[in-house]
Amino acid sequence: MDFLRPTTWGEALAAKAEHPSAVPIAGGTDVMVEINFDHRRPAHLIDLTRVADLYTWEVGDERVRLGAAVPYTRIMTHLRAELPGLALAAHTVGSPQIRNRGSVGGNLGAASPAGDCHPALLAAGAEVEAESVRGTRLIPIDDFFTGVKRSALEPDELIRAVRITRATGPQQFAKVGTRNAMVIAVCAFGLALHPEQRRVGTGIGSAAPTPVRARTAEEFLAAALADADLWASGEPLPQGLVREFAELAAGACNPIDDVRGTAAYRRHAVAVLARRTLGWAWESYRDQIGSTEGGAPRCA
């Protein structure tokens, strides 16, 4: 095994071009587990922890360009306002030790259906900045996941950054597990309200071969909110509407039975998470428009 230590992004790309089967490693929270358990013996490891660019982010008017190796801890502390859904998801990852090392780039590279970032990215809207010595391309997050632990990355490509749409409305994330820390999600749900576009974004984790959006549920909710003029009025959501949204979200799942839960349980739990996250997000939205319109604070 060779341990390659590029100190610049250019060197990293050159190393990946020369050794397409090389495994990039940053936080090591996935890769080292595979090596420790002898599940993987790559001929080359490319250590990305010395490539400083990967640990920075830029906040633009419409999106955040998040370096691939920025640890979850920093997303939680520095990007909570711009990327609330991702910050919530980051906070549910593993433990402090894991969040100090793990990153969105690594989560994407592993492309596990259970990756905690994925539902948040799908709901918010994002593009993966993939680069090789051949050039840079932006992969829409909807096209990124191609199968269980498979992504649209080419063998010579590395993830440089993720461009994530800045929140314009409330975002929520919730997952089901046996305890709060250190569990792989049984299932997870991300929700983003995009009030300016009168649009709803969703993401489901651990309930299909890849992370998926609940498109029918998104379209149903956006249409229902528009029809009843709820975006403008901020009225409470009718129970029937919330229930229908939750059922459509469950319908977007294609889960399996495994050690963490049955397919039936996952469908049920996704519906529950969809209902809860919509409730929380809508409450925040009502607070938001209440305060911007100078309305009196509502009683609980």
């Binding site: 095994m1 080292m32 587990v33 420790n36 250590d47 922890t49 894991i98 100090n100």
Partner: protein, 202 residues
């Protein structure tokens, strides 16, 4: 490959390191520092928690080569680290300047001293232990002891950044450290005790 790193303030070199080896293996098997424990090897248990450039991490998930030219703090260096931290804090009273021609002692923890380190009973005011270590002893927060080194490193880092942690802060900071004896209540007591002693300047 060769890995040069600073462990507990002292430069160390490990040779013939396998490229897929973890920092934990280097610490335990090559440098003879078995304080950091090897248990799950997948970042689940926190027994191997060390600080890498100040940040708490699972040493089992750090590739040895990633620690090259970095600074590592293990439980063996915790007492020295705590003493150094206390000395670096702004003094509340005048301390006499050291004699000018005393040679500067080498920084950090000597490897031989770290290897032969033993806990000895001491009173909290004049302890050779880090305050968090003394608090664990006094609160009876050690049962089988396997999780203790990782908990000490994690708890010490919490108290370094949060002088008066709430119970929620403590639970969150220690969420990545499993105790199979389930002695969590006494562990909570120990962290509260260390925080209380620090706030009283003791």
């Amino acid at each position: 490959m060769r890995v040069n790193l600073t462990v507990n303030g002292r430069p160390q070199t490990a040779d013939d390191v396998w490229e897929g080896e973890s920092l934990l293996y280097v610490l335990r098997e090559r440098l003879g520092l078995p304080g950091s424990k090897n248990a799950c090897e997948q970042g689940e248990c926190g027994s191997c928690t060390v600080r890498l450039d100040g940040v708490p991490v699972c040493a089992c998930l750090v590739a040895a080569g990633q620690a090259h030219e970095r600074e590592v703090l293990t439980v063996e260096g915790l007492a020295d680290h705590a003493r150094q931290r206390a000395a670096d804090r702004p003094a509340t009273h005048d301390t006499p300047a050291p004699p000018p021609d005393t040679p500067e002692p080498a920084p950090g923890t000597d490897l031989a001293a770290a290897r032969s380190w033993q806990a000895s009973p001491a009173d909290p005011a004049n302890s050779e232990l880090a305050p968090i270590q003394q608090a664990f002893l006094d609160a009876g927060a050690v049962q089988c002891g396997f999780c203790t080194p990782g908990l000490l490193v994690a708890a010490d880092e919490l108290l370094e950044r949060t002088s008066e942690p709430s119970d929620e802060d403590i639970r969150e900071a220690l969420a990545g450290n499993l105790c199979r004896c389930t002695g969590y209540e006494a562990i909570m007591d120990a962290v509260r005790l260390a925080a209380a002693r620090a706030s009283q300047g003791g």
